[in-house]
């Protein structure tokens, strides 16, 4: 701006400068960074408080708590059978053993966990818009991205709290019931599993925030999130095997040759779904006896000694899975971030 054009303005600026010195040198905490930071923290705290006091958080937490209890009960009743096969890593079996008609904790988390992510995020932005609080928020001296950042971070914090409290609940209650203390390795494996679960749920949180940015109505966003969740968790495996059978038919003479390609394609398609990725990663991390994922030929097995993998090797096995889950969460959040930043604030 050309100051010569507006002498009055220039003078005012100078006045402001002296005033600024008088006001701010005494308390330097008012600098841009600190003020910006405090705005973001205020927003984060409010979001967190909103989540923790909301009915839906209560409902989803009770739901997950009850299913965890059910899966723990199933695990306890079946753990004797499991132990008769292999008496190692009994503590981990609490998380991976299911009852006769009930899934294991890991499976429950993989299937129902996304619901928590979706619930926490589906009205993040569109509700602010509908309430008319978004433009009020945006006119405060905070960067626009701190709105979506604070919302994501608050959701992620709640998810971490849910996952760890459930994991510690199952571990603690199970420990009391079976009375076999876990080894360090087992504890580490459970912690790694819980961290992966957090990232996995954060992917669903980010996805539902994305829908909340795109969809005008919270209901549409929730339905979109639930539709994607159901498709990827339930129907993706059907689609994968269907497509694989179409491309590589297993009938007749040709089927013999197609077996490997068919399975490879089905697996590749399944791994598009974060549900499948998480399930594979979880079962590998929680079960040291899983030595490979995917197809193994007879010649590869030949001469191998049956034995448990150390944690490092298990992690190495599912490292791509973990990277992809982290990347998916990152991509989903980045997409919602970009769309939100480009959107018009006005309704």
């Amino acid at each position: 701006m050309n100051m010569h054009q507006f002498p009055a303005l220039a003078k005012q600026k100078r006045l402001q400068a002296t005033e600024w010195l008088r006001l701010h040198v005494a308390k330097p905490r008012q600098d841009t960074g600190a003020a910006q930071h405090s705005g973001m923290v205020a927003l984060y705290k409010k979001e967190l408080a909103d989540h923790l006091s909301s009915k839906r958080f209560f409902i989803i937490f009770i739901l997950l708590f009850l299913t965890s209890t059910a899966s723990l009960a199933g695990a306890i009743s079946n753990i004797q059978d499991a132990v008769s096969q292999s008496s190692e890593f009994i503590f981990l079996k609490l998380f991976t053993t299911g009852g006769s008609s009930i899934y294991s904790f890991a499976t429950f988390l993989a299937f129902l966990g996304p619901l928590a992510g979706i619930t926490l995020g589906f009205d993040a932005i569109n509700n602010e818009r509908a309430q008319g609080t978004l433009n009020r928020l945006a006119s405060q001296p905070i960067y626009r991205d701190s709105i979506i950042n604070a919302k994501f971070l608050a959701g992620a914090t709640v998810i971490t709290a849910i996952v760890f409290s459930l994991g510690l609940y199952v571990g603690g209650a199970g420990l009391l019931l079976i009375g076999v203390p876990p080894s360090m390795e087992e504890v580490l494996r459970v912690l790694v599993f819980l961290v992966i679960a957090c990232v996995y749920l954060c992917f669903w949180l980010a996805l539902s925030i994305l829908f909340s940015v795109i969809c005008r109505h919270a209901a549409t966003a929730a339905l979109a999130g639930i539709a994607v969740w159901l498709f990827l968790s339930l129907f993706m495996s059907l689609v994968a095997s269907g497509l694989a059978n179409m491309v590589y038919p297993l009938d007749g003479m040709e089927g013999m040759f197609n077996t490997a390609s068919n399975y490879g394609m089905e697996l590749a398609l399944n791994r598009i779904s974060p549900y499948y990725l998480f399930s594979e990663a979880a079962s590998t991390v929680l079960n040291p006896n899983v030595r490979s994922i995917g197809v193994v030929t007879m010649s590869q097995i030949e001469g191998a000694l049956a034995g448990a993998l150390p944690l490092r090797e298990s992690l190495l096995l599912v490292w791509p899975h973990i990277v992809v889950i982290v990347a998916l969460a990152g991509i989903a959040f980045a997409a919602s971030y970009i769309v939100f930043m480009k959107q018009e604030i006005r309704a």
């Binding site: 701006m1 507006f6 009055a8 303005l9 003078k11 005012q12 600026k13 402001q16 008012q30 841009t32 600190a34 003020a35 910006q36 405090s38 705005g39 205020a42 927003l43 409010k46 909103d50 006091s53 309430q131 008319g132 609080t133 433009n135 009020r136 928020l137 945006a138 006119s139 405060q140 001296p141 905070i142 960067y143 018009e344 604030i345 006005r346 309704a347």
Partner: protein, 334 residues
Amino acid sequence: MGQSTILRTHGLCKKYGDVLAVDKLDLEVHTGEVFGLLGPNGAGKTTTTLMLLGLTEPSAGTAYIDGLNCARDTLKVKRIVGYLPDSIGFYPDMTGRQNLHFTGQLNGLDRDVCARRAAALLRRVGLTDAADRKAGTYSRGMRQRLGIADVLMKNPKVVIMDEPTLGIDPEGMRELIALIRDLSVKDGRTILISSHQLYQIQQICDRVGIFVKGRLMACGPISELGSQLQSEGYYVLDVRILPADEHFATLVRALPDVQNISQDSDGMFHIESRQDIRTFVLDIVVQNRYSLMHFHQRGGDLDEIYHRYFEKAGDEHEHASVSGPGKAKTPAGN
């Protein structure tokens, strides 16, 4: 002028696709004045206010508030500019007071500063009794007053209000207007109000800008705008006499510069002329012994100014698109 300019735009444009929402806006608002941005719905008022706050990026041109570039120094601008959007909303599960505290925290205020300022502002807008009720239970008028308190939490130099009087009952309106006037007179803040409700604006604005189809048609104090219209040769005189007979109409029609005289259903004559003919008409009334019931020269109030400028904008638009002949009225020169 001895006044300093706090808000200045230069060639500000905003395009949405092919639609030009704001067209080369040059606006100056002086420090401490109440400026009314008037225009019909969809004239680009809200777009302009959003550009001033840096919430929307201008397609071209610049806007400065207090020497800060609105498109670049958005954070600094937002620290000194309070914005009251037209559909103001609050978090329904938080009380009015909590909503204000939250705004204060977003502005980086200390906890005790927040509490003190919120209490003072709630008293000022008359919401002390309702302060600890959930904001979701507030009426439209209460929300609007809470909105003003909310804007003042950051102690802004400039307050931008978008349709602040929309949907408020007359009594609430009176209070609201007094409140807005106070912001300027007592606190010395600069206020920019965008609205299509003329009467309210007329009461509080020092200057108005008339905004039609993205362009500023006229700008100045209301009285000046009125005389501007009259200097362009358009006068309407309302006269009611007894007896309201045809003879009067013939006499008036014979006067020079009278363009048209019409009589409405309740006997009022409307005389359109190119000059101020009040003295001549009065002469006719007196000489013919009519009793005068009503005598009013139109043009002074905003309603008419507004209407005239819209007509002009419409004319220009037609000229531009049809370029048809036969339009007697000249397009606006400024």
